[in-house]
Subunit: 332 residues, 2 copies
């Protein structure tokens, strides 16, 4: 592995921490080197807030100048304005690694490509070009301003990172979440680390809809909110033939939430669908699921059962979440 | 994460690839930077062959000089002699990251500390000092020759890497191996990747003894050799109350192997014990097991069962082995 690949891997790993949480934006990571030392490692965290490159330049500024900024770094407009106000060659000795071509598109935030072109770092290394038409052109903008650009470092990994984003351009991206012991046992109280629970709530906070099985609603009487993060609770679809649910079940009492009971699901609309359910749900929807997310708690258990289902996977990315292991897979 | 930690992590990851395979030596990784580019990333691979630092200096030489060596790099004496024959300042611009203090001890191979002190790289960064009395003193040797040394980068991770080595100084280090699906199902044909199978055979090749349950011998009629690596097959202890095993079972027919049937096990002797067995074995020996090694194949399965056992783990290290996930845990 070259140093270049190593740095790009760090940017990719950082982006995976925010995988899906940036919906409807792509997950993007950015690392900045200054005289061969890492001065920034950031990722885009939430749609409507500063992009990865912007957060990274702000961090780099803080590290190089040894000065803290005094405004909200997630406010993209303020962050852009601040960076554009710095002396012109402030980042001249920096090398920027970014997992996706800086956007040329002016959306909720100004274009990153024009910002980076203005800041003129020594070099910008990009894992993959932006595959969305109208969002590309960032490289051209950089090169026109005389910034050296290299494209294609760790491209394969960068495209795996982008897979959900590419899917939800056209239809629903469907994630099924499983919390289990390391020997596959499912059931109450296994999801041990607070970090894993927080992560589930972060996904709930951004998904378009959450789907849950009727049996789970009847038996577990869940709340399905985002109390660990303080975000608004997601809208719920209960996938069930009958609507015989007592409205005293906590999930019905969450404010500002829509709950529908449906016996037919439609995944044609561009969206991010999060499914939490039991073996029956996994079996019923296995043809519709794009990715599986497993939280494995560090124990073997003699109790309860694993899901008894045949499903071929491709492991995509794994990392530790507190004491747990978080494992992302594509359903083949 | 600083660049320094990032480079040390790479050395640690490389060492984990040879975890236990270096028995009775510790697993050690080494990375060399030359003008901030990685020119070597190596690990000690097998006792009696070149240490990590030696392999790394050889690789660095090849990369810097763009010349291939024409002798066996694993022959420690030849490798040392070659490195000592280079012009004195050949590695003067190199920074060396090594996960363990270079050995001052002259064993099967010459001391690495005296070699590194002679080669005089710009700096040597060490994750942890050698905890074995009589093996320490490497840092002192380096500093006496005027080499700049820094100790303690990623020390916690380095000590986890060394844990088996520290245990087998005093008693048996006991590893239990499990091959399973990602939902914990155990049984024939799940261990899918050739890389995982090869890794099992690499561990069998170096272990002091392999322990297997009587039931497995009767039902599976295994061979338990190292045909994927061409190494000598390990000696076997069948843990069983009765010795009613047909000598036509393949494992008895492997040449140069000792097979014992014992109903009592002794883990007091410094050694590396590899256990492959079923739920009964895991349950019977769970108090004796130090680490668990799980190979998870990328699928969920509806067939067979997981091990039904309660066991608290601490995940230590995970990496992909081909398409599989390899997960090392400490048994708590």
């Amino acid at each position: 592995m070259t140093s270049k690949q190593l740095y790009m891997h760090q940017a990719l790993k950082k982006a995976w921490k925010y995988q899906l949480r940036t919906y409807p934006n792509p997950a993007v990571g950015c690392l900045i080197l200054y005289h061969n030392e890492i001065v920034a490692l950031e990722a885009h965290q939430k749609a409507g807030t500063s992009h990865a490159e912007v957060l990274a330049f702000i961090s780099a500024y803080e590290n190089i100048s040894q000065t803290k900024i005094d405004f909200d770094r997630f406010d993209a407009q303020k962050a852009h304005d601040f960076l554009l106000s710095l002396e012109e060659d402030f980042f001249a000795d920096c090398v920027v690694y970014v997992t996706l071509e800086p956007c040329s598109h002016v959306g909720k935030t100004p274009s990153c490509a024009s910002l980076v072109a203005h800041l003129k770092p020594k070099k910008v290394i990009i894992a993959t070009l932006d595959p969305i038409k109208g969002h590309d052109g960032g490289v051209k903008q950089l090169e026109e301003q005389g910034v050296e650009v290299e494209v294609g470092v760790c491209q394969k990994e960068a495209l795996e990172l982008l897979e959900p984003f590419l899917i939800w351009q056209k239809r629903a991206f469907v994630l099924f979440k499983i919390a289990q012991t390391s020997n596959g046992k499912i059931g109450g109280g296994y999801l041990s680390s607070k970090e894993s629970l927080t992560h589930v709530h972060q996904l709930r906070a951004v998904c378009s809809k959450m789907i849950i099985g009727g049996e789970t609603v009847r038996v577990d009487r869940p709340t399905l909110d985002c109390r660990f993060t303080g975000d608004n609770a997601p809208d719920i679809i209960i996938y069930s033939k009958r609507d015989d649910f007592k409205r005293t079940i906590p999930l019905f009492k969450v404010k500002n939430r829509e709950v529908k009971v449906l016996d037919k699901l439609d995944f044609s609309k561009p969206s991010f669908i999060l499914i939490e359910g039991g073996e029956g749900m996994l079996n019923a929807l296995k043809e519709d699921i794009d990715w599986l997310l497993q939280y494995q708690t560090p124990k073997l258990s003699a109790h309860s059962s694993p899901y008894n289902i045949d499903l071929d996977l491709k492991f995509l990315f794994q990392e530790r979440k507190g004491i747990d292991l978080m494992l992302w897979s594509r359903v083949n």
